[in-house]
Every structure is written in structure tokens, then in C-alpha cells.
């Protein structure tokens, strides 16, 4: 497998995505909404009334749980962002009739799929990281101003951003590329692809009702499961990428 060919395909996709407005919107608007919206919520929640020093530890402890849960939003975001790109990756090529000449080049299925995965993964992870940095800076600004302490960075968010986010982004990308190769409409691909977010939303709800605690250890366990799923999905994507079916059965 020639990795540079995958990079060539990914770079071409980056250039194409730059012209797709809905891809840009999803990469910019959604992370910004989360990274700016959540700190505003906390700012408004704390209010301007002075906090008695005796209540401060309880408030900080409660907020820390909320911040951990909010940090998990970036895992959901990393699962969500590749949907628009991943869904476009194969279906878009097919709709624009560009897949046949691409498949006619001396490029293997693995090289093409890896290129598609990179094309969806990199922008999604970069957008997630940018959103997370804005989120942490604003949150720290709120807590230092209102409560006199800073919460970020910490080990939980470090595990989330450095391990869980890239792994879930790869999983979502692979899932969406697989879906994309099975359906013939970008919107259908996006709808099916969005299913990847459901288990993540379930984990978020579980943290909110204190069923799961987002400790670094638990996050590492979740990440290990995602890593195993990444490997399985890459194998599945290669096994189910059938050039003939894509070329002859899609209308």
C-alpha cells in the first residue's frame, strides 16, 4: 500500500470540500456553537450575585462534574463532524461521475479508502481541537473571574482530546465511508452515518445521571473499545468496498 497515494486523494478531497458550503458550515459553526455556547451557559448560571465562601467547595465540585460531562461533548462532536465529509466521500464521487476514472487508476481499494478516511478525519479533528481550545479558554475565564479557579486543562480532558477524540473520529469516518459506499444518495448517507452519534449520546446521558463517571481510567477503557472497533471497521470497509457493485448497481 502506497500511503502517499492516499494522501494525494485526501488532498484532492480537501480542495473539493473547500468549495462545499455545507461542509464548511458543519466544520465551523457546530464547534463554535458548543465552545462558545457552553461557557455562556455557565456564565449565566453562576450569575452576578456574590457566593458565600462556605458554599464555594460544593459549587466547584458540582461544576467540575458538569465540566467533565461538557468535555465529553467534544467526543460527540468528533463523531458528528465526519458525517458530512464521510458521507460525501464515495457517494459524492459517484454522483459527480468521478468514481469510474478514479477506480481506473493504478490505486488499490485500501489506498482509496484510507485517502477518504484521512480527508474526513483531519478536518474533523482539527475543528474539534480548535473548538476545545476555545471552550477551555472561555471556561477558565469564567471560573477564574467568578470563582477564582481554573479547571482546564486536566487529565480527563487530556485523555478525551488526545486519545478518545481521534479514535472516535476515525470510527465515525470509517463508518460513514462504509455507509457512503452502500447508498446512492448523500442525504441518506448522512442520515445513516448519524447513527454513530447515538451510543455517544447514551454515554453522555449516563454521565449526566451519574451512571458512568468520566474518570481518565473509564475514558481509557472506552477508548480501548473504540480502538478495537476502528480496526474491525477498517477491515469491514475494505472487505465491503466492491468496485463492480459501486459502478454497476448505483443509479
Amino acid at each position: 500500500m502506497k500511503l502517499w497515494k492516499s494522501w494525494v486523494i485526501a488532498r484532492k478531497d480537501f480542495s473539493t470540500f473547500r468549495t462545499k458550503r455545507y461542509v464548511i458550515y458543519s466544520l465551523v459553526v457546530v464547534p463554535l456553537l458548543i465552545s462558545i455556547g457552553l461557557p455562556i451557559l455557565i456564565w449565566l448560571g453562576i450569575g452576578n450575585a456574590p457566593i458565600p465562601p462556605s458554599q464555594l467547595p460544593a459549587i466547584i465540585s458540582g461544576l467540575n462534574d458538569v465540566f467533565n460531562a461538557f468535555s465529553f461533548f467534544f467526543v460527540i462532536l468528533a463523531g458528528f463532524l465526519p458525517i458530512s465529509i464521510g458521507a460525501y466521500s464515495i457517494v459524492g464521487e459517484k454522483l459527480e461521475k468521478t468514481l469510474e476514472p478514479l477506480l481506473a487508476t493504478p490505486t488499490t481499494d485500501g489506498e482509496i479508502l484510507l485517502g477518504k478516511v484521512i480527508a474526513a478525519f483531519l478536518p474533523s479533528v482539527i475543528a474539534t481541537y480548535a473548538g476545545a481550545v476555545i471552550f477551555m479558554v472561555l471556561m477558565d475565564a469564567v471560573t477564574s473571574t467568578k470563582l477564582g479557579y481554573v479547571y482546564f486543562p486536566n487529565w480527563t480532558v487530556a485523555v478525551i482530546l488526545l486519545i478518545t477524540v481521534p479514535l472516535i473520529s476515525i470510527l465515525s469516518t470509517e463508518f460513514n465511508v462504509i455507509i457512503s459506499a452502500r447508498v446512492s444518495d448523500v442525504r441518506a448517507a448522512q442520515q445513516f452515518g448519524a447513527l454513530i452519534v447515538l451510543p455517544l449520546a447514551a454515554i453522555y446521558v449516563a454521565t449526566e445521571i451519574a451512571f458512568v463517571s468520566l474518570t481518565p481510567a473509564n475514558l481509557l477503557l472506552i477508548s480501548a473499545i473504540i480502538l478495537a472497533l476502528d480496526a474491525i471497521l477498517f477491515y469491514v470497509s475494505r472487505a465491503t468496498f466492491r468496485r463492480e457493485e459501486i459502478l454497476t448497481k448505483w443509479k
Binding site: 497515494k5 494525494v8 486523494i9 484532492k12 480542495s15 473539493t16 468549495t19 462545499k20 459527480e96 461521475k97 468521478t98 468514481l99 469510474e100 476514472p101 478514479l102 477506480l103 481506473a104 487508476t105 493504478p106 490505486t107 488499490t108 468496485r243 463492480e244 459502478l247 454497476t248
Partner: protein, 303 residues
């Protein structure tokens, strides 16, 4: 190709295709929609698998996974849909494919410039392809297929939906490639194009119905005929033709259509006899079936 067959479930797209296309030859495939032309090209381009039979390109075997990448390296494909990245520039489209075909930077730069200049697209190389006309896109798709200097070129309906001027440009370009001794496999509905460009033609209707040079195919329908226009066809003229042992038809009062096997040898003697019999010759033309007549007859017979 030897007995090449491709089925999709119960539907046979190509049946028992046996054919040889030599290096440097332009071979045209004619056939109605659904005749299996595109399927054949896709099998040969290793895009879809064959069901049975054998096919080779050079020393490489179609259907052998180890050979598939090598085959794709030596062939160029212009599919029936041009399939260009509309949001990218012409140059970026070609450069992308040049990289996938493993061309060096210098090769990519040289070839892109050479072909785009050759087809009059150099001045618009930085424009997004979506701003191009159909003809410009078609030319660009041909350049894309040539970017790695393939030995074999598959052109699937390269002039479909183009206006006559662009058709001529593309046809002239194919003739230029022919002069460069490239092996070209041309799928077309355009009989005139096939006749002008192809060394040999195959008429496909799932099976190979007929195959030969355009001249051979045209002769195959009616044989060769010489049409003589006289001031008047007299009994003396028809009598002399009969005495030569030739079959003839009096088309009207002043035209005689004579069956000939070898007109280059037979015609001078025939003309001398007619003149000797008092016939006053105005015109002599070779009359033969058109490729369109041959095509329609063969396809209808097959159906």
C-alpha cells in the same frame, strides 16, 4: 479476447467475445445501447470482473488480481461520463491524476502543458471545470486519460453530445493519437466517425456480429458494384455486359449497376466494351452499401 463473457445475474451483457486488437491499431466498437460495449471496456480496464473466457492486454491477464494494477498503469480510460472534478481547475484535475499514475513532477508539467496547448485549453487551465463547455470537458477527459502516456486508450463515446465542430476537434485528436501509434479502442454510435478513424470495426450486439475493416464490412453486405451513367442504356450495351459474364441491373434509362469482384482490374475492360458497343459514358462510380446500412442490417438480423 477469447470467448469473453460477462453476465449480471440472469442478464448476459457480453457473450463469447473473441477478438484481437493489434498494437497501434484503432479498433471501433459499434452497437446499439445495451450491446455490451461499455461492459467490455470496463472488463478490459479491470473495473469489473469477467464471468468467463480470457482476455489479455500485452502480457497481462485480465482477471488476475496481481496484473490488475499493472494493466491500469498502461491503459487510459475516457468513460462515457467525463467524470471531472467540477470545482477544481483543469490543471488541478490533470495534476491529481498524474500523481495517481505515478508521473514525476517534470512529466506532469510537460504533459499537461503539451496536451492542453494541443487542444486549445492552456489559457483556461486555472479555471474551474464547471465553467467549461461540454466539448472542453470532453477534451480535458481525453487529456486526463493520456497524462501517463498509456499504451492502450479506451474511449467510450468520446464525441457523444458534442456539436459538429467539437466532434471534429476530438476526431482530429484521435487521428493524431493514431499517428503516434497508440492502440485505441473506440466505442461509438457515430458511424461516420468509426469509418473515418478506425482501422477495423466490430459490430457488437451482446455477441460480436461482424468484424473487419470499414471497407470489408461495406462490401460484405452487397459486394462491390460499379455504376455507369450513360447517355442511354441500349440493348447493345446490356448485350455486351452479358457477354462479359457479368450480372447487372438497369437502374433506369441511363444507369447500369454491374456486380464486379475486382473493380480495379475489371472496370477498364467493361468500359472499353461498353464504348465499343456504342455506349456514351458520362460518369463511372463505385457503388457500395454505407456503413450505416451494414450496421442496421446486421443488428436487425441479430435481433
Amino acid at each position: 479476447m477469447n470467448n469473453l463473457t460477462k453476465t449480471f445475474g440472469d442478464v448476459t451483457a457480453v457473450e463469447g467475445l473473441t477478438l484481437r486488437v493489434d498494437e497501434g491499431e484503432v479498433f471501433g466498437f459499434l452497437g446499439p445501447n445495451g450491446a455490451g460495449k461499455t461492459t467490455t471496456v470496463r472488463v478490459l480496464a479491470c473495473l469489473i470482473s469477467k464471468t468467463s473466457g480470457e482476455a489479455r492486454i500485452g502480457n497481462y491477464e485480465i482477471g488476475n488480481d496481481a496484473d490488475a494494477l499493472k494493466i491500469r498503469k498502461i491503459i487510459g480510460l475516457v468513460p462515457d461520463n467525463v467524470g471531472l472534478y467540477e470545482d477544481l481547475s483543469a490543471y488541478r484535475n490533470l495534476d491529481f491524476y498524474g500523481r495517481l499514475y505515478e508521473c514525476t513532477v517534470a512529466q506532469r508539467e510537460d504533459r499537461i502543458e503539451h496536451f492542453l496547448k494541443m487542444l486549445g485549453l492552456w489559457n483556461v487551465k486555472d479555471r474551474a471545470v464547471r465553467t467549461f463547455s461540454k466539448g472542453m470537458k470532453q477534451k480535458l477527459a481525453i487529456v486526463r486519460a493520456l497524462i501517463h502516456e498509456p499504451q492502450v486508450l479506451f474511449l467510450d463515446e468520446p464525441t457523444a453530445n458534442l456539436d459538429p465542430e467539437f466532434q471534429k476537434t476530438v476526431r482530429d485528436f484521435i487521428l493524431e493519437l493514431k499517428r503516434e501509434k497508440r492502440t485505441i479502442f473506440l466505442n461509438t454510435h457515430n458511424l461516420d466517425e468509426a469509418q473515418r478513424v478506425c482501422d477495423r470495426i466490430g459490430i457488437l450486439n451482446t455477441k460480436l456480429v461482424a468484424e473487419g475493416t470499414p471497407e470489408q464490412l461495406m462490401e460484405s453486405l452487397e459486394g462491390r458494384k460499379t455504376e455507369v451513367q450513360l447517355q442511354q442504356v441500349t440493348p447493345a450495351v446490356t448485350g455486351t455486359v452479358e457477354r462479359l459474364g457479368l450480372r447487372y441491373v438497369v437502374a433506369d434509362d441511363n444507369r447500369l449497376v454491374i456486380d464486379v469482384r475486382d473493380p480495379e482490374k475489371e472496370n477498364p475492360g467493361i468500359m472499353e466494351s461498353i464504348v465499343a458497343a456504342g455506349g456514351h459514358i458520362q460518369f463511372i462510380t463505385e457503388k457500395h452499401a454505407t456503413l450505416e446500412e451494414v450496421y442496421l442490417k446486421l443488428v436487425r438480423d441479430e435481433q
